[in-house]
């Protein structure tokens, strides 16, 4: 389970890296074409927004696995290690509830995008593509936080024994 989630998270970050490079490239090409032959790329804003969905959300699972999300660790300095371990596990459980609830309630708006065939104004790109990228990041984030929760819980229980 752990290695599968790590591999999936790393894969998504690599996909996001391709999208990030594409975001750099489209800005450079757009500005270049606009300033040289006055012919900017049509729909650049919409393309950048689609790329942003991947860049901003696909790396969330790996950021969790790398413990990069900001937590305030002041309490660790004043409570015994055992208590700190349990608090870490409870904090991760709260994060798990948050991403779980978020993913669940993101489904209906995504279904609405499909049902009403919502598209962007210029390029007429289906909004469900963007929603799909965001949901993929959040869905794998659930697995990543679950893995961390199991790790934190085992550590807390291990120290308790």
């Amino acid at each position: 389970m752990m290695s599968f989630v790590r591999a999936a998270a790393r894969f998504l970050t690599r996909v996001a890296a391709v999208f990030l490079l594409a975001m750099v490239a489209i800005n450079v090409v757009d500005v270049g074409l606009r300033s040289t032959i006055n012919a900017p790329i049509f729909g650049t804003y919409e393309i950048v927004e689609f790329l942003l969905a991947a860049v901003a959300f696909l790396a969330i699972p790996e950021a969790f696995l790398r413990d990069q999300h900001i937590t305030i660790e002041l309490i660790d300095q004043v409570v015994p290690p055992r208590v700190a371990d349990w608090m870490r596990a409870i904090g991760t459980l709260a994060a798990l509830s948050f991403v779980g609830l978020l993913a669940w309630h993101m489904v209906q708006p995504a279904l609405d995008y499909i049902e009403f065939n919502e598209i962007t104004m210029d390029l007429q790109l289906p909004l469900i593509w963007k929603a799909g990228l965001i949901m993929t990041g959040i869905a794998v984030a659930i697995l990543a936080v679950l893995v961390i929760f199991v790790r934190d819980l085992s550590q807390a229980m291990g120290r308790a024994k």
């Binding site: 689609f50 942003l52 309490i75």
Partner: protein, 434 residues
């Protein structure tokens, strides 16, 4: 229970959850959801909750990963070392030359990095060993790096300013322009602090070294051309009207990659690492922003800002007194929360209050950045200090905090100047956008 009481309870719950180690983004999101539901019912709360992530892929947010990428590439390539050599050439022959050079180099690096942590981490590895080699006192050496690092978020481009701009719906170019003069003043004040320290404690700095020949100085300063080019693209391009902030960030990130590759400071592996680092940072910020946006919707529902405004009227507080109270609150908050969190949590509550009293939201943004900077170098969550400590395990944390103490006077002076003369922040944007 009134909406404003629910709002106050929500803020209390948020502080409690973050102190209990719940990740900040999750804490803000959960409190925002429950609070919103308490006011407007679960059905509406879940709609806001579920649609928020989709609303955050707005074009204006794309400036964040692109500026972060530019800063990451600049940090990984040798630009910081060249800057240190150039700044050293400028100050050579003066007592306290190396700490002054460190501050100068940090100010220069801030113009391409956008991050305090990156600036402090970079110059800890470059400047501190050099200062120790020449016999500088550890307090002066580390204090100069920690203080210099904070310039990273004040001198544009600055990731924190972009986050403030997004949260406050303010213009990124206006904020960048507003940060320029206060950033330079703060760098100047830090230099004055070094000058005073070496006069009060001559034993903290070695005797004056040889002066550098002018030809050598000019060559060293000329080696800063990469920095000038990147800053010109990232910030200059915005004000000449060539690019939007997102385009400027994209072009500058591209130029940083090309420059670093052409000068053999970046290979494919290095580029891969830069991309990964950028994505993790962006994801971490985005996760907090999702939570912060949900929390902000809740704050709007509570009408907490209008309650605060009413309270100010009841007690007949002057705008000056309110700003002082907010500043004290921020300094206390800086002891428990980091800069991103402070801005995202407090902007929805305080900005409407401050604006209602006639203050400018751009000026307030700069004041906030200066105040949250202090939190980066003061205990217990001074992140700059902890980043330095990780690289200098043989220096006690107390030495690091003692080293930074004199530089806090410079921050206090800048805050006083900004309060007394708001034009320090507002003059340049006024000229550029008139």
């Amino acid at each position: 229970m009134t909406e404003q009481m629910i709002g106050a309870l929500g803020i209390l719950a948020l502080v409690s959850l973050t102190l209990l180690r719940v990740p900040l983004g999750a804490a803000m999101g959960l409190v925002g959801l429950v609070g919103y539901a308490a006011i407007d019912g679960w059905d509406r709360a879940f709609i806001v909750f579920g649609t928020t992530p989709y609303s955050l892929t707005h074009y204006s947010f794309s400036v964040l990963p692109l500026f972060i990428l530019m800063g990451t590439v600049a940090t990984r390539s040798n630009m910081s070392q060249e800057l240190f050599v150039a700044a050293n050439a400028i100050f050579a022959g003066k007592r306290g030359a190396l700490p002054m050079a460190t501050i100068g180099a940090c100010a220069g690096f801030s113009a391409i990095s956008g991050s305090s942590l990156a600036t402090a981490a970079t110059f800890t590895s470059i400047a501190v060993p050099e200062m120790r080699r020449y016999g500088y006192d550890e307090r002066l050496a580390t204090g100069a790096v920690a203080a210099g690092g904070t310039l990273g978020i004040l001198i544009p481009p600055s990731v924190i300013m972009v986050i403030y701009a997004l949260a406050a719906e303010e213009s990124v170019p206006m904020l960048f322009a507003a940060g320029m003069i206060p950033g330079l003043i703060l760098a100047g004040l830090f230099l004055v602090v070094v000058w005073v320290i070496v006069r009060l404690h001559p034993e903290w700095a070695p005797p004056v070294g040889d002066k550098m020949p002018w030809g050598e100085r000019v060559r060293a300063v000329a080696a800063m051309w990469k920095l000038v080019l990147l800053f010109g693209l990232a910030v200059g391009g915005i004000y000449t009207g060539w690019f939007s902030p997102t385009e400027a960030a994209g072009i500058a990130a591209f130029a940083a990659i090309v420059l670093a590759t052409a000068t053999r400071q970046l290979n494919l592996r290095g580029l891969y690492d830069c991309l990964m680092e950028t994505l993790w940072t962006t994801a971490m910020l985005m996760f907090i922003i999702v939570g912060a946006w949900i929390f902000a919707y809740f704050v709007v529902q509570t009408r907490l800002p209008s309650g605060l405004i009413d309270l100010i009227k009841v007690f007949d507080l002057s705008p000056w007194a309110v700003i002082m109270m907010i500043l004290v609150f921020y300094i206390i908050l800086g002891c428990v929360l980091d800069a991103v969190a402070i801005i995202l949590v407090t902007v929805p509550v305080f900005l409407p209050v401050v604006v209602s009293m006639g203050y400018d939201s751009v000026w307030y943004g700069i004041l906030m950045v200066v105040v949250v900077e202090i939190g980066l170098i003061t205990p217990p969550v001074g992140l700059n200090i902890f980043v330095m400590r990780a690289q200098l395990p043989d220096i006690a944390l107390t030495t690091l905090f003692r080293g930074i103490a004199p530089f806090l006077v410079a921050d206090a002076v800048l805050i006083a100047l900004l309060l007394a003369f708001p034009q320090i922040a507002l003059w340049l944007p006024g000229i550029l956008f008139s």
